[in-house]
Symmetry: C2
Subunit: 231 residues, 2 copies
DNA sequence: TGAATAGTGTCTGTTAGACATTATCCA
DNA sequence: TGGATAATGTCTAACAGACACTATTCA
């Protein structure tokens, strides 16, 4: 880690805004900073790029996220890079910021495997004051998630691999923060041809059982035009 | 500039994909690299971030672009950050990449003021092999410009401040690479309420003169939600 | 008056929202 | 059979593409 501060040294970090659903509401993963600056305060999971270990910025983001939370999310993409002389008291710094989505299954298994990780899920409407410029990063991430959700299958990454139509519908509503007509929504997803039926798989209680769906194999890639597939 | 290469030093540069119109076709500004690596070869205008001079990454991009081409573009936004250990032979590096738009007027005055700048305008369908991973950066920039043009007034930055409807129409067609119905296009721009008439200002030859328009003052800001206004 | 470009009007097929209806399960 | 949720159908108003038409200038 940089201790001296010659003219040409610039701090390069990665940060991740990781979204998940809990109680049908959109949450974000936050952790307490172990070290100065801002020791003990809330922050987005993040850390230095290690050029010996990290092939590229996405690999760095995955490594850092794994080390801080134990989670390897099924979706990760670059968000924006915040780079200036004021955002970190240690000096001119770059935050290669990413946003990621994780479903309850992966999240739960990560928590079960290593309950010692100090992270919390916080409802997106109740995010506390964060370290550095992380509130700004979070705001940009939430906006980007909502924008992209209106024309992509992104919210499906918040659900388990198989899900019902009602679940997708509800998830989109919670992510976007608006009500969506059930019929029109179903029509749209159908004609976009992004989901496939899990034949025979149905779930339900004391009522008509619902068809289970999953995202078609080729669709996931369509969403990651700029990115490489995750390791 | 870094000569030694301790474990924690990472090269941080800014690069700019600068678009302009010439002969009604979309061009990109390229310059010859003055130094190794890739000395003498084509590259996007770029350079090191100077943390003493540059307040943030956009300021760095503007300074570098001005120093390499003499141009200060009316539109600049961050594109993506390319960051890995392979893109630069000198080691692990970050390119804070931006894309920018400039109109013929600003371009011409920059060229007139300092004809010594070694840059060229190259048609976007005839971009040569570039240094580093700059071809990849260019591809991403062109895609982003086209995507964003379909729902924004971005192409207007390629035109002088005042322009006719025919000019905007033609510009959009050349940027997007497809034909657009004149009537439908006009309807859309009208109902989006992004242009205002320059009262009384009309131009024309031996035919009906055309109304001059300009982008409404508040619209420019709508496009720069993530960015700060340029200095 | 004709050539040339500017600008408007109309028709039509498609689509999204609103809402009604039918379907299928369990108790 | 009734309650509950799943899934589909219908009506309508708004919209986009295609294209025809009118308007205005100069030579």
């Amino acid at each position: 880690m940089p201790k001296t501060d010659p003219d040409w040294t610039i701090i390069v970090t990665v940060d991740v805004v990781l979204f998940a659903l809990r109680d049908k509401k959109l949450h974000v993963v936050l952790s307490r900073r172990p070290n100065e600056p801002f020791a003990g305060q809330w922050a987005l999971p993040g850390g230095y790029v290690h050029k010996q270990e990290d092939a590229d910025s996405l690999a760095a983001a995955l490594r850092v996220l794994r080390s801080k939370t134990g989670i390897t999310p099924p979706y990760l993409e670059q968000l924006y890079s915040f780079a200036d002389g004021a955002r970190d008291p240690r000096g001119w710094s770059v935050s290669l910021s990413n946003f990621a989505l994780v479903d309850q299954t992966v999240l739960a298994s990560a928590q079960a495997a290593a309950p010692g990780f100090g992270f919390d899920l916080v409802e997106v409407n109740a995010v506390p004051r964060l370290s550095f410029d992380h509130n700004r990063i979070f705001d940009v991430a939430l906006k980007r998630l909502r924008d992209k959700s209106s024309y992509s299958t992104l919210p499906c990454y918040l659900l388990p691999e198989q899900f019902t139509f009602a679940q997708v519908h509800e998830t989109y509503e919670h992510v976007m923060g608006v009500a969506l007509d059930k019929s029109a929504f179903r029509r749209k997803l159908t004609e976009m041809d992004v989901l496939e039926e899990c034949k025979g798989q149905r779930v339900g209680g004391a009522h008509r059982p619902a068809q289970l769906f999953k995202v078609k194999a080729d669709v996931a890639n369509r969403l990651r035009l700029l990115e490489r597939p995750l390791a």
